[in-house]
Amino acid sequence: MITKLAWKNIWFKPLNTVLSVILLTASVAIISLLILLQEQFEKQFSSNIDGVDVVLGAQGSPLQLILSSVYQVDAPTGNISYDEAKVWMKHPFVKSAIPLAFGDNYRGFKIVGTTPEYLEKFGSKVSSGKIFNKNLEVVVGSEIAKKLNIKVGDKFFGSHGDALEGEVHEEFEYVVSGIASHTGKVVDNLILSNIQSVWLMHENHEHSETEENPDHGEEGHIHFEGDEHEHHDNGHEAHHENAISVSENGKEITAVLIKFKNKMGFVTWPRLVAQNTKMQAASPAVEINRLFSLFGIGLEALQYLAYGIMLISGISIFIALYNTLKERKYEFALLRVSGASRLQLLSLVLFESILLCFSGFVLGTIVGRIALVLISSTTNEQYKMTFDPFAFVWEKEGILFIVTIFVGILAALIPAIKAYRLNISKTLANA
């Protein structure tokens, strides 16, 4: 009955109520959105780092190198010579080294030349079909297979570079040999082939471009956008016959993912690379930490803003309760006359406020998740990154819940005590 009374009272003054709830909803929505974004963002970023100690690639921004080679979101820093890279891949400190060569895309999804170990690194298996072992065979990530409805045995042409509108390599057709199992990591949105396939696509360009390419940080593919593909027209037939063996000499790759045998490698190996080559070794953990700390400032500022809004909503609840107290003192006196105890009045006022805050919290949580769905659809289009709106970060959202309810209690405290102390006789006598 007290609950019902509190509920009815709240809606008896809908304007006050709506204002307070809107403010609360806004603050809770912002905070829960930030919590979810941060948590899932960090989780996605961290899970992709697993098994990569450093990345070997062309000189340039280390963050860019990490973003491009580990997360597949930025353009690569350039290319490195495979011959030179191989020396470092076979270094005694190195436990495993996975080469990556970027070239084409298929409908916006990157085709990456690598080794089957790349798939294993993500804990992914070929769920149907088999791994690529011939040139131009590809394994398609689970998300792509789902979105584009690709099956084993399908064939397609790649487009040049990483732009969707890139020139189509019509002379070579990729064959889907397998579909990778779902991992929730970047590999779900990649098409994997062997490195030779990438070289094959771009053969004959090498000689003219070896000098320019390593510094070519913009597109990072193996040749220029404007290149004519005359050679392919000439050598089409021959290519198909010789496709099985593409010489490694003078070829380039984009990056190598390195895992060390022990900590020693972590300390010395990157320094050796920096001293002896024109390549760089960047640590994903270090770079991503740097990125998060940059984000962190922005997120923190937003979080303060949201808590500020929550404070204002607390004040708004306080003012609403305090103002109506004057009108409601007769009601309170009457309840006392009818047998209500002081504590029941105290709890009535507290309960009204807590009910407001609870509604605000529930609505805010929902609105925050709707926002996350919207953000997720954008990031999915642009970065192939999705967020799960149904995930709960119990600990942080629990704290948020407690804070919200605490705001409610705090706002109602003075009005509630006033109701508790109400002098019934005086109130009724002055009526």
Binding site: L334, R336, S338, G339, L428
Partner: protein, 218 residues
């Protein structure tokens, strides 16, 4: 006949009660006794402490000295919480101006009073009471949508829902026109008899003085 008289115990009994708001404002009230079903009119000019006495009888104020017994309970010996409960169960109060829980409908206001005192909503009883008071059609309206006369009758229903031993009315008719004033007076008197409650009315309304003979003046 003898047995019947013995059963009629004093419902209300006060002895030597005094009360003071400050050193200058002191009240000493005459002793009051009423029996169940009986009506007592307390009259007197303003500033004589009519309302104060009513609040003392209703347990809204505590006397400085003296005792107030309702039924077999000496109410000044009750704790604050016990007093709240006792008031809810045994005392019905009708005021000059009716106050309600504005967010509640007529019927909800009445069952709220029942719930606070007994923990039960007794909606059936509330409905039959409203029927008796000719308010059946107003049951689901908000109290602010009723006329003053109707509001006063809702207050009576609310005061009677828990079948109190004592029904207190503070100037119940002063803001009503003649027609409504007599209606309310009749209802108060009839219903208190029906529910075997003592009725004590504090008033300076001449219409009531003419209607009820059992009076004391402060």
């Amino acid at each position: 006949m003898q047995a019947l008289v013995k059963k009629k115990l004093n419902m209300i009994q006060t002895q030597n009660i005094t009360f003071s708001y400050s050193r200058k404002v002191n009240f000493a009230f005459p002793d009051i006794q009423t029996q169940s079903g009986e009506t007592l009119l307390i009259t007197g000019g303003s500033g004589k402490g009519k309302t104060t006495l009513l609040h003392l009888l209703g347990g809204l104020l505590r006397p400085n000295n003296g005792t107030i017994s309702i039924g077999e309970t000496e109410i000044s010996s009750l704790s604050e919480k016990q007093l709240d409960q006792f008031r809810g169960k045994n005392i019905g109060l009708v005021l000059q101006q009716s106050h309600f829980v504005e967010a509640f409908s007529v019927i909800e206001n009445i069952s709220m009073a029942s719930w606070l005192a007994t923990g039960k909503k007794s909606e059936e009883k509330a409905k039959s009471l409203l029927k008796q008071l000719d308010l059946e059609d107003q049951m689901h309206k908000l109290t602010s949508q009723l006329s003053i006369g109707q509001q006063q009758r809702v207050s009576i229903a609310r005061a009677l829902i828990n079948e109190p031993k004592l029904l207190l009315a503070d100037e119940p008719t002063s803001s009503l026109d003649d027609e409504n004033a007599f209606k309310v007076a009749d209802l108060l008197s009839d219903l208190s008899k029906e529910y075997k409650a003592s009725l004590i009315i504090v008033t300076h309304d001449q219409r009531l003085k003419d209607r009820f003979s059992n009076q004391i003046s402060l």
